[in-house]
């Protein structure tokens, strides 16, 4: 079935373009049963929906055969959509993504799909920087029930050396974080998920010095990502992270996993797999993982 092209105007007046791969299973077949769940795939950096040897498009075809409609889109500034991303180095553009520059259009695309694609809930799957966008958006949209992060950059751009540096070079302890004076359920929930992090970092507790490793970790790891994971889990959303064992950031991920990931976040390190999933075997491993993840969505496990 030929995919459907769509576009809408975002809140900044720019046209956002996307492509929707409809579910190709026959109505009434086991694969189609109960699939009011759609998928949005978010590629990395700023190359757009066709990036990384069309990994998202290939995945869309597989998931569509399994009965899930799948959307890829280009946020404003990227690919087919209007606007320009800022020119810069790869690292500068990774920072641009890391800062959440594509979250607004992702949320608006989710709204568009809920209205026009016949889905009731969505799973976000993001690769590299797209994983950050996926996680940030998943924490903010009630219709997102699951998020699968593929090789997410857990360390902030430019901070990897802080993590890798010698312990004696660790910076002094940070000032305690002041909690906002609020008693809303939301703030209470957020404080609830911050406390374990603060405890691990030795922050916010008078007289308790943070470990050097924790201080370095606080500086290096993406705290917005951490909080988004915490919020999503607090909301009962399913979160899984998949990393290749040949990904240059796999060691940082393992540290991130040990220090920060809350209970219930699935993780998988795929054998013989690089950041770019350039081999047929690594793609097959990934697609299998995605299939297993999708099978858990909508179940009564959470």
């Amino acid at each position: 079935m030929t995919p459907r092209l769509f576009k809408f105007t975002n809140v900044r007046g720019l046209t956002v373009k996307g492509i929707l791969y409809p579910a190709t299973t026959k109505p009434g077949s086991p694969a189609a049963a109960g699939h009011d769940t759609g998928v949005v795939y978010l590629p990395g950096i700023v190359l757009g929906a066709t990036a990384t040897h069309r990994l998202g498009i290939d995945l869309a075809h597989q998931l569509a055969r399994d009965g899930y409609p799948v959307c890829l889109f280009d946020p404003a500034g990227i690919g087919e959509s209007e606007g320009d991303y800022p020119a810069g180095t790869h690292q500068e553009l990774a920072s641009w993504i890391e800062a959440g520059s594509c979250v607004g259009d992702t949320l608006q695309t989710i709204d568009y799909l809920l209205e026009h694609a016949g889905v009731r809930q969505l799973v976000l799957i993001g690769h590299c920087g797209g994983a950050l966008t996926a996680m940030y958006a998943a924490a903010r949209h009630a219709a997102v029930v699951g998020v699968l992060l593929i090789c997410p950059p857990t360390v902030c751009q430019g901070e990897k050396e802080a993590l890798d540096g010698p312990a004696e070079a660790a910076p002094p302890p940070p000032a305690p974080v002041a909690e906002p004076p609020s008693s809303s359920w939301l703030d209470r929930a957020i404080r609830g998920v911050r406390r374990p992090i603060d405890a691990m970092l030795g922050r916010g507790h008078a007289g308790e010095a943070p470990s050097r490793r924790a201080t370095a970790a606080e500086k290096a790891f993406n705290r917005r990502l951490i909080e988004a994971v915490q919020i999503a889990r607090a909301d009962g959303k399913r979160v899984e992270i998949v990393v290749g064992d040949r990904d240059p950031d796999v060691d940082a991920f393992r540290t991130f996993q040990r220090i920060y990931l809350p209970e219930g976040v699935g993780t998988r390190v795929l054998d013989g797999t690089s950041h770019g999933f350039v081999t047929a075997t690594s793609v097959a491993l990934l697609f299998s993982e995605v299939g297993e993840f999708m099978a858990t969505i909508g179940s009564a496990l959470f």
Binding site: R54, D84, S95
Partner: protein, 280 residues
């Protein structure tokens, strides 16, 4: 990220989630009229028509833009989208397309053949003809440059503007395969395609045996050919030897080879291209 309180991700505006450290240029209000579709007169290929701006004094001139292949295409996609928009702003209808099995077109990359890529180019030209184009010019980048220069002799009224055209597809194939072998070693030796794109044996065989473009043979068409390059002097030297004009454009930062530096548009290159399409 160090220091300061955590942003509240449920409240994007106050948390600054959507605010970038590197501010993007302020976008102009949308004036683009664009049709996106799948051409279905064969294997479905993705096409976008960028309508000439109504106030730009268009005269029915169309330009068909043939892109590079595989990851070269992904790395430079935004540049070609913006070139098409600038052509449209200059009064030229621009039509972009993706080869079957690449970009947003349907099909598997390992089913792509050189003949199918050339056929897709012809189908995009046919699409312009059906739209009533008064004249059609060709643009090509890398593999698209090869296709544009190859098609030019049978389109007597067309001009061809090419960026860094591949003149020797057999050499291109060898380069890709060499790169892929290096990648394979890193990835544990599994047979794979080019930059992760599964590539069929038919395409590799076609590339190996495709005739190289001899610029000297194109000399009679010199008034209709513009070569623009920035990556090195090889193309320019070959053009000079053949009596063709080639321009080395300064200040082009993007590359089809890598993503160490990315830029969505290249003003000097776009200016030179639009002037050449217009025959100015």
């Amino acid at each position: 990220m160090a220091g300061g309180g955590l942003p509240n991700l449920r409240d994007g505006a106050s948390a600054g989630v959507d605010q970038a450290p590197v501010p993007a240029p302020a976008p102009p209000a949308s004036t683009h009229v664009e049709d996106e579709l799948f051409l279905d007169d064969g294997p479905p290929i993705f096409v976008t028509r960028h309508h000439a701006a109504s106030d730009a004094g268009g005269d029915g001139t169309f330009a068909v833009l043939a892109p590079p292949l595989f990851e070269e295409q992904a790395r430079t996609r935004k540049v070609l989208v913006n070139l098409a928009r600038d052509l449209a702003d200059a009064g030229i209808d621009a039509v972009r397309f993706d080869y079957p099995g690449t970009g947003l077109s349907e099909g598997a990359s390992d089913e792509l053949t050189l003949a199918a890529a050339a056929a897709a180019f012809d189908r995009a030209i046919g699409y312009c003809q059906r739209l009533g184009a008064a004249r059609i010019h060709l643009f090509g980048f890398r593999l698209g440059g090869y296709l544009a220069l190859s098609a030019l002799p049978r389109l007597p009224a067309a001009r061809a503007v090419v960026w860094e055209p591949i003149l020797d597809l057999a050499g291109y194939r060898d380069e890709l395969v060499r790169l892929e072998r290096a990648t394979q070693r890193l990835a544990d030796g599994e047979p794979v395609g080019i930059d992760g794109n599964p590539v069929g044996a038919a395409l590799l065989a076609e590339l190996a045996t495709a005739p190289a473009i001899d610029l000297a043979q194109l000399a009679p068409l010199r008034d209709r050919i513009t070569l623009l390059c920035w990556d090195g002097r090889a193309i320019q030297d070959a053009a000079i030897r053949a009596g063709l004009a080639a321009t080395v454009v300064p200040d082009v930062r993007f590359s089809w080879r890598h993503i160490r530096v990315l830029e969505p548009r290249s003003p000097a290159l776009f200016r030179a291209t639009i002037q050449a399409v217009k025959g100015a």
